[in-house]
């Protein structure tokens, strides 16, 4: 396999490199990317820059404060390196270990393998145009991948079938938190046969569950040691854990700072971090970037306070997994001067990892993963989701909450009534969009925006 069989990855790597270069000059980048293109692309999709559009919107486009650019540059470095690593590993046949989101990847990364997270591929695909992930879903459909599976996983399978993934030497999956992962992994294992380790699933975050998971991780370490014929590098694990602690501390703080009115509008930046945290949380640049972001957030809040800036006319909470092929925050900013103050994905509330012993580190890394967005809300009883939503709605001074309502996400679909009742009791209006978060064939961007517009008008928002 060579790099020409991974056109989407190659494209994403190039694009990341280009933007990274631009970000070296934050001021220019601010004008060109955020204020220029960013504003233009909110409402238009000219084919010449279509491939940039989704990535830019996901970053927040014109709603992203320029102060965040240095941090974004760091994330981009990690992103580019990940793409390039995948390309070169595929080219040179270096060992690759596939992981899925809930696997404490920092432990795997303490072995000499390239850690790769195929579940993230939707974002790679969308870097080559807003319909990249949709095309992969189509490809998966063509190969008979059942449509009952959540499209994030169908997209991952499409990527495999389209030869977009570096071939794995090992595969470590956790059938957690949802049927989508479970089903996607089942098929992936069949299509890409290689030694495989499955972590099972703990249902909640009780001490027993965490202990169970930790035990699985120990088993995983043993598995990796036999497979790679190499002992785990505990120093690396510790280094990773410390870096993750730095990262989490900063990003938790950035999340919290959005309680301020006006909010620093860095939710999108957080979501961008999330994607890399899923795949490469232990990279030093990521921790550096997180701290830069924290700095930016603090100064933004400070400046707003100094200037006595008024509260935004509209504060929006995104209550579930955001659509991957477009983003609304720039549009909300342009259209209503509103900001997104809390998001299901860009919400960091990770506990610190205790690095004092191997055991405590493993437990800490497990708990860290269980606190990762998407995983955090998808396990446990409905209270896990409802409590978090209650916090977001009541403490972040929200005006309304939008749910993208991923059609393939069955456990969230079953919560809809309770969520509606909760919003009603708190007195915050909620909108369900019924979109597919990866496959844009179901309902398009314009229709979604129209829905939001109408909803806001009905509710008399912005105030």
């Amino acid at each position: 396999m060579n790099s020409t069989t991974m056109p989407m990855t190659a494209h994403a790597a190039q694009a990341a490199a280009r933007v990274e270069r631009l970000l070296a000059h934050p001021r220019v980048a601010d004008w060109v990317l955020l204020k220029g293109l960013g504003r233009l692309l909110v409402n238009h999709e000219p084919s010449a820059v279509a491939s940039l559009r989704t990535s830019l919107l996901k970053m927040g486009a014109s709603s992203l404060p320029a102060a965040a650019l240095p941090a974004m540059a760091k994330v981009l470095t990690v992103t580019r390196r990940m793409h390039e690593g995948a390309l070169s590993a595929a080219r040179e046949g270096r060992p690759v270990a596939w992981i899925t989101w809930p696997v404490p990847a920092a432990v795997v990364a303490a072995f000499p393998v390239l850690v790769y997270c195929p579940e993230n591929f939707y974002s790679v695909a969308n870097a080559s145009g807003g319909d990249g992930s949709t095309r992969l879903c189509e490809l998966a459909d063509r190969h008979g991948v059942p449509t009952d599976i959540c499209s994030i996983n169908r997209c991952m399978l499409g990527a495999f079938l389209g030869d977009e993934l570096p071939p794995p030497q090992l595969c470590i999956t956790a059938n957690h938190p949802c049927d989508g992962n479970h089903a996607g992994n089942t098929i992936l294992r069949e299509l890409a046969p290689c030694p495989h380790f499955s972590m099972g699933a703990a249902y909640d975050r009780s001490p027993q569950s965490v202990a169970t998971w930790a035990r699985s991780v120990w088993e995983m370490i043993a598995f990796l040691e036999t497979q790679l014929q190499q002992p785990i590098d505990w120093l690396a694990v510790e280094r990773h854990a410390r870096l993750i602690n730095r990262l989490n501390k900063a990003l938790n703080h950035v999340t919290e700072l959005h309680r301020n009115a006006p909010a620093p509008r860095l939710i999108n930046a957080l979501a961008v971090f999330w994607r890399m945290v899923a795949a490469a949380a232990w990279e030093p640049e990521l921790a550096d970037g997180a701290e830069l972001l924290e700095e930016a957030a603090v100064s933004l809040v400070e400046r707003a306070r100094r200037k006595k800036a008024p509260r935004e006319p509209l504060r929006v909470v995104l209550g579930d997994q955001a659509i991957t092929w477009t983003d609304f925050s720039a549009w909300i900013w342009e259209e209503y001067s509103g900001s997104v103050v809390s998001d299901y994905i860009g919400h960091f509330c990770h506990p610190p990892i205790d690095t004092s012993s191997k055991e405590s580190m493993i437990e800490g890394l497990v708990l860290d993963r269980l606190h990762m967005s998407m995983i955090r809300q998808s396990h446990g009883t409905m209270e896990y989701t409802l409590d978090e939503l209650t916090t977001a709605l009541s403490e972040y001074d929200a005006d309304c909450v939008l749910f993208h309502g991923n059609v393939g996400c069955k456990h969230n679909l079953a919560l809809r009534r309770e969520i509606e009742a909760l919003c009603r009791s708190i007195g915050i209006p909620a909108l369900f969009l019924d979109a597919d978060i990866v496959d844009r064939r179901l309902i398009g961007e314009q229709a979604l925006r129209q829905k939001i517009k109408k909803f806001l008008a009905d509710e008399g928002l912005p105030r």
């Binding site: 309502g405 059609v407 679909l413 809809r416 009534r417 509606e420 009742a421 009603r424 209006p429 369900f432 019924d434 179901l442 309902i443 398009g444 314009q446 229709a447 129209q450 829905k451 517009k453 109408k454 909803f455 008008a457 009905d458 509710e459 008399g460």
Partner: protein, 276 residues
Amino acid sequence: MIDVVCDAGARYVKLALARPGETVRVLSAHAQDAVDLSLFAQRALSALNPGRLEAVRFYRLEEDLAERPSLLARVRAVSPLRRWAPMQQLESKAVWLKCLSLLDQEALLLDAGALRCRVFERLQGGTKLRVVENERCTAGGGRFVELMTQTLGVGLEDLDLTVSAATKPALLSSPCPVFAESEVVSLLNAGSQREDVLAGVVNDVVDKLLALLGRAQLGQRPVYLVGGLGRWQCIRSRLEQQGIRLLEELLDPLFVPCVAGLMQVQQRRQWARIEV
């Protein structure tokens, strides 16, 4: 001056037009036959014999289905009516609130159309509107009933009669109306009666409406049913059987939204008489 309000739905385009204070004329057409709304409006207008210089205001009920109309469409939309004013969007919130305020008690409004079913609720003394909408793949609205009657060879007009003759409603649970067609064919082959199958279809549709009302936390409040489904007695009585308190129909439910729009535009205080 004449006001025209157009409600372009998924299956029917509905029109209400009147001079202020006069009886309202209503008119409907299949959506595929009235794609050009302004043309349709113009045809309808001629029935009122507008004077040469009489102003006409043309409104369209804002729909969230509408995407950004293309340049040409925008030009097209105004051109047939260019002697008068261009088509205006009528904010739907105001219309639904108007509709709710015209009811003499606090009720929920259930708009059950061809594909989409929604429940509207008035909050905070009428300044806010809360909407609960069905999910996309529960296409159990009027379109489902239409397709089934077609498959079974029953006229839409005869639906009520047919359903009332049912003795043992069939159980259908295919969520997809199009596919349910073949299920229905096999039910018939297995000896089910047409009446029973149709009653099953109606029960199915009502079940979905009930789920929607459940999500809207209906409680003890009454419901005002509008939209095409409200035209059928069988739907209404089935809802009532299930313990829903329905308000009496004031006018043809199909036209309630556009007539309410007209009431809103002309600032009328009560429902006008309508004439088809």
